[in-house]
């Protein structure tokens, strides 16, 4: 697969520790385009769009803020805790976006199964369909994410 300079530069940034410790791809051997393509195929199979997912994640984060750093009830099945740190993180894609350093932990109230995402994760999914590479601390498996936040 032929790749442009921009694509190569993006992959270099995503694999580096320039923005987050361990980078955005972890030990995933796939190229960024492959990661995105395969995750988009999963979404299509699940009948969900990246925008829908990002919207729901943002909604959970917003509701979770009511817990003031402790778990807040989101609905019959979910609760979420939002932790905010100083500063913001720039989006690694060339769109000049910035996200507050906010981490949401969503938890199933019955099974206590958990998923974690940052405000930057929401942006990366909604805008770039990038769920991050396997091994990245913030990789979100689309199937697991959809099951957790919608069903």
């Amino acid at each position: 697969m032929k790749r442009s300079e921009d694509q190569l530069r993006l992959e270099q940034i995503l694999r580096s520790d320039q923005i987050v410790s361990g980078g955005f791809i972890g030990d995933d051997p796939r190229m960024v385009e492959e990661i995105i393509e395969q995750d988009l195929a999963t979404l299509e199979h699940l009948g969900r769009t990246k925008e829908e997912i990002a919207l729901r994640m943002a909604e959970i984060t917003e509701k979770g803020k009511a817990g003031l750093g402790t778990y807040a009830i989101i609905d019959d099945r979910l609760e979420a805790m939002v932790e905010e740190s100083r500063g913001s993180l720039p989006c690694p894609f060339p769109d000049k976006a910035n996200a507050q350093k906010t981490v949401t932990v969503a938890r199933d109230r019955h099974t206590h199964e958990m998923l974690r995402w940052s405000d930057l994760s929401i942006h990366l999914i909604g805008k770039h369909a990038f769920f991050q590479g396997t091994g990245s601390r913030y990789r979100l498996d689309p199937r697991r994410l959809v099951e957790m936040i919608f069903e």
Binding site: Q18, S21, G22, T70, S85, R86, G87
Partner: protein, 369 residues
């Protein structure tokens, strides 16, 4: 024109653009020589002679003037604001969103985005000129919870720091395996300001965070570290009003520092400290708080647990920290409040305190934003 020809044209134009951009960056860095320039600080108070071409933030740091910065000069934290009276050049698109109309009018700029190409005149608050860089040794690391640690640093050079309880320092993170950037991150001081030559910080692990990952995974007792400070205007006022402290997580740090100060100055102000946590696993320094209660007769510590169902045996306050404030505070109208925590927690606390009759000018806070 067929598709192949269009693709080739796009590649050629794109390639030429990229090459020109690269050339400009290389020229700026290696070829252009701005010669010696002067940075005038506070109308002649300091006059710095240095080679032009770097950012104002780098130029000031190289001359041991430390401006707070948490993003490594990427223009994303907006901590490094400095008033530039002359010689700053045009405003960059990165800076615009971080500057209010008043700041723009006054010439305030993000110093990491201003290039020093000619002589430049700046105004820097006097307390920032007192900020120094410190070499220190990790004397003790104490695990407070599963994701919070206390670091005790022995200052080596200079051997002591004068700080006001409530202030913070910037902790340096070097390049390490898994991180190629040098960064500074801000942490409030939690130690007793009367104990000379020592700084203690309370650090909460941010998963994937460059600084906290380094300190949690790579820094051990005996290691050498670097920090600079002190910074910040969060401090106790000098009056007799009752005090309401509200904090959560590592927001414990500046409040603990203020409590040490109250003990040292035999401060008899009535004070109540609400500390919010998810479960009992998230509570820490309970013994320290008991000790403060013993030394300060008018002080009471009120830990508040949001999930009593996950905290077997807990018989204390439950719910959100703000709900406990509403239940206990009866003298808000005459009190002062000191808050440290996330923006959400602080905003909610302000709303509750104002609802109880505390005016905004008597609410002081240190937001994690």
């Amino acid at each position: 024109m067929d598709m192949a020809a269009i693709a080739v044209s796009i590649l050629i134009v794109g390639g030429l653009g990229a090459a020109l951009a690269l050339l400009l960056v290389v020229a700026e860095r290696y070829i252009l020589n701005y010669g010696e320039v002067t940075v005038d600080v506070n109308a002649g108070e300091r006059e710095l002679k240095l080679n032009g071409g770097t950012s104002l933030l780098e130029a000031l740091t190289s001359q041991k003037i430390f401006i707070p910065s948490a993003c490594g000069g990427r223009g994303t934290c907006a901590y490094c604001k400095v008033k530039v009276l002359d010689g700053a050049g045009p405003l960059t698109p990165t800076e615009g969103p971080y500057l209010s109309p008043e700041e723009l009018k006054e010439g305030v700029r993000l110093s990491c985005q201003v290039k020093v190409r000619t002589d430049i005149r700046v105004e820097i608050p006097r307390d920032l000129l007192a900020v120094q860089e410190y070499q220190a040794t990790v004397e003790r690391v104490r695990e407070l919870t599963y994701d919070i640690k206390e670091y005790r640093f022995r200052l080596d050079d200079p051997p002591d720091m004068d700080y006001i309880p409530g202030q913070y320092v910037q902790l340096f993170t070097p390049r390490y395996k898994g991180n190629k950037e040098e960064v500074y991150r801000a942490y409030s001081i939690s130690s007793d300001s009367q104990e000379k030559g020592v700084i203690e910080l309370i650090v909460r692990l941010v998963p994937g965070g460059i600084c906290t990952t380094y300190y949690f995974e790579h820094v051990n007792e005996g290691d050498r570290i670097r920090l600079n400070g002190p910074y910040g205007e969060f401090h106790l006022t000098d009056n007799d009003r009752p005090i309401i402290f509200i904090a959560g997580g590592s927001g414990m740090a500046p409040i603990k520092c203020m409590l040490h100060h109250m003990v040292n100055t035999q401060n008899a102000r009535p004070a109540i400290y609400f500390f919010g946590a998810n479960t009992t696993r998230d509570l820490f320094m309970l013994d320290d708080m008991k000790a403060f209660e013993a030394k300060l007769p008018n002080f009471r510590f009120v830990p508040v647990i949001a999930r009593p169902d996950e905290s077997p045996g807990w018989e204390g306050e439950t719910g959100l920290v703000t709900q406990a404030v509403e239940r206990h505070v009866t003298n808000a109208g005459e009190a002062e409040a000191y808050l440290c925590g996330s923006p959400g927690m602080i905003d909610a606390s302000i709303k509750v305190l104002e609802g109880l009759g505390l005016t905004a000018d008597r609410i002081f806070y240190d937001k994690f934003a």
